[in-house]
């Protein structure tokens, strides 16, 4: 603290000394004793000096001279060259000027006239900082004769004639001062940091962008895009690093937990030792790893381990977390919770799962339905009685697959044919078809009156596949009012359950039906029996129905 105070005091002292020095050294001397001044600009046109001062941020009084058709902008009065030179550096640093250099006053035409007049003191009267030659020049000045003594061969700072002003609306809005400073800083940057071969171009672009708004905005756009790309790359890098870390973390802990749990299941380790090895098991990601391992064991192994797995699950307290997940507002979490409870908590999950069988979310509902089937192996489809929401095709496929794989009890699907849920009715018809449950034909016949075309279609198919002869007349009577698809199904059914009495019906279809109906009718008649085959050949000959192509088609082995 002591040293900090001492340092601050020294710093302040140095700054004060410097300021005094500057004031003493660079205070311009009175005009009468001056020999040198600092030239800051030259122009072919005499611009308004106040604008010039604003633009370049110059507070000094400016004297304007004319030399060889050039207006020379000069500030300060100095006794010697050294002072003028040092002041030139100072004015560059404190203003927006790029160059300034000392000049010998005696060599500037018109100087004698200035010398003879009393100049206003810029410090005391800033309002009079403009030279007496701002808008008019003395008649005595010879415009054609001049030999300005440019000391040190510095180039004259040139304000090109007709240079557009940097005053588009953004500059006016945000302040000229800010943009002038920005331009100067960019040019400084270009002069000092940009590689030599790019310097000129860079500076030119900067100058143009501050003159023409569109270039300015284009540059801003380019910078914005570059920043965007950098941000995106940064995000990608961070995401990738995190992902790699997470994968490595999962790999390490997976191996650790697998080893610990396997040792426990094989009787090589006690529960207490295993519990110690299951480090950080309460952390969310670690919990997921352990549950994944337990589910893998549950799906692949049985016997002594079968009871051990739910036991570990409960001992670790994971069932509480699963129940919380099931109640989450996030559908993905609910599905995860239902799955965990189904696989690892079979004791209590039958009480929890039914609440989600009619969930509004399709995925949650589907998982709940599948879980129900797995948990109720003796009666897996009892939930059909209370199902009000859809039983989707995808869930139906999974249910069928689970039934096959797990050899579940085959339900009496006819019990659910009176369900108000059309998905349930249709699924049951399919299952009746597959499992050949022809005991409850009456319920199937009732479904021929259904409003839904697909239900009627499945009922006709069931009548066909189950060879329900008593349904033949029913489906024939419905032929005229049925859809084209169902008509085809009726004709197909007659191939299996039709008799000679149905020949006329099929013949009428061949005569008047569509191409598909004709084709199926020919097939049904041809393959119904030998009598049917003779009948169709006779029809072709006697009535000239031109059904040779149909007969060729149906007898082709490829069909």
């Amino acid at each position: 603290m002591k040293y900090a105070r001492a340092f601050c005091f020294k710093l302040c002292l140095n700054i004060f000394s410097l300021l005094c020095l500057i004031c003493v050294q660079f205070t311009p001397v009175e005009a009468e004793t001056s020999k040198y001044a600092v030239q800051i600009a030259a122009s072919k046109d005499s611009d308004s000096l106040s604008d010039f001062q604003d633009y370049y941020q110059i507070t000094d009084s400016i004297t304007l001279f004319l030399s060889q058709n050039w207006y020379l902008y000069v500030v300060g009065r100095f006794k010697d060259f050294k002072s003028a030179s040092e002041y030139a550096k100072v004015i560059i640093e404190t203003s927006n000027l790029e160059q300034a250099f000392p000049v010998e006053l005696e060599k500037i035409p018109g100087w004698s006239l200035v010398k003879s007049k009393q100049s206003p003191n810029p410090q005391t009267n800033p309002a009079d900082s403009v030279s007496i030659y701002q808008n008019e020049l003395p008649a005595e000045v010879d415009k054609t004769v001049c030999d300005t003594n440019v000391v040190a061969n510095e180039k004259i700072t040139e304000i090109a004639p007709g240079t557009p002003r940097r005053n588009f609306w953004l500059f006016e809005l945000l302040g000229k001062k800010y943009f002038v400073k920005l331009e100067k800083q960019l040019i400084y940057f270009g002069n000092n940091y940009v590689p030599g071969f790019l310097q000129k171009r860079f500076i030119r672009i900067i100058e143009l962008s501050f003159i023409y708004p569109i270039i300015f905005f284009l540059l801003i756009l380019v910078i914005f895009f570059l920043l965007n790309i950098i941000v995106v790359l940064l995000i990608l890098y961070i995401t990738s690093t995190r992902k790699n870390y997470r994968e490595r973390y999962i790999e390490v802990f997976s191996k650790l937990y697998e080893e610990a749990l396997l040792s426990y299941f094989l009787g090589e380790s006690s529960w207490e030792k295993t519990r110690i090895k299951l480090k950080k098991h309460n952390k969310s990601i670690n919990r997921k790893i352990i549950i994944s391992i337990l589910i893998t064991f549950q799906e692949n192994l049985k016997g002594a381990m079968e009871n051990g797995i739910p036991e570990i699950y409960a001992k670790l307290g994971y069932h509480r977390e699963s129940i919380k997940l099931v109640k989450s507002s996030n559908n993905y979490k609910r599905i995860r919770g239902i799955k965990e409870l189904t696989e690892l908590y079979p004791e209590k999950s039958p009480e929890i799962i039914p609440d989600y069988l009619n969930d509004t979310n399709d995925a949650v509902r589907s998982q709940a339905q599948i879980s129900y089937i797995l948990l109720h192996r003796d009666n897996p489809f009892e939930f059909f009685r209370t199902l009000t929401k859809p039983f989707t095709r995808w869930t139906q496929l999974i249910a069928f697959y689970l039934q096959q794989i797990n050899k579940l009890q085959v339900a009496n699907f006819a019990d659910y044919l009176d369900s108000e849920n059309p998905n349930v009715r249709n699924y049951c018809l399919r299952m009746i078809n597959h499992f050949q449950q022809f005991e409850n034909a009456t319920e199937i016949f009732n479904l021929l009156e259904s409003d839904m075309e697909i239900t009627r279609f499945l009922a006709i198919r069931a009548i066909n596949n189950l060879r329900l002869y008593e349904g033949k007349e029913l489906i024939k009577s419905r032929y005229a009012t049925e859809s084209a698809k169902n008509q085809i199904e009726i004709i197909k059914a007659l191939k299996n359950i039709g008799q000679e009495s149905d020949f006329d019906f099929l013949a009428s279809v061949i005569e008047t039906g569509s191409v598909s109906a004709k084709s199926e009718a020919c097939r049904s008649l041809y393959f119904m029996s030998d009598v049917g085959k003779e009948c169709i050949l006779r029809l072709n000959l006697e009535k000239n129905m031109e059904i040779d192509p149909y007969i060729s088609h149906i007898t082709d082995e490829r069909n």
Binding site: L262, F265, I293, T296, N300, L301, G303, A304, I405
Partner: protein, 122 residues
């Protein structure tokens, strides 16, 4: 010491079977897919092969077919699969498998079947 080859792509189940059979005193070789299984069998003779059906590169049916078909191997094969569909079971036996176990399986039952197959081979 009898040598057994286990072809199973699930690392955890592979390790479980490995640990269980190692305790019985068998020398176990582990592979992760069908192709690796055939490559190992080219250079090494084993007393029993335990294979899964659905594996990357070559599946269990292809492995059995190649062993019993082209190579005319007499090594007993025990198939261990989650797919207990009749079609898969029949196909495995027709190709030359000696035994079939459906997952989930019991480790004790596995040990018993392995012992029996090895005894038959002897």
């Amino acid at each position: 010491m009898k040598k057994i080859l286990i072809a199973e792509d699930n690392r955890l189940i592979q390790e479980t079977i490995f640990r269980s059979l190692s305790r019985e005193g068998y020398n176990i070789i582990k592979v992760n897919d069908g192709k690796e299984c055939l490559e190992v069998l080219e250079g090494t003779e084993v007393d029993l092969i335990i294979t899964d059906l659905y594996m990357p590169n070559k599946n269990g049916h292809e492995v059995i077919s190649e062993l019993h078909g082209e190579r005319k191997s007499k090594t007993p094969i025990l198939v261990l699969s989650a797919s207990g569909i009749e079609e898969n079971v029949l196909k495995a036996f027709n190709l030359g498998a000696d035994d079939f176990m459906v997952k989930p399986f019991s480790l004790i039952e596995l040990n018993v079947r392995v012992r029996k197959l090895l005894a038959q081979k002897s």
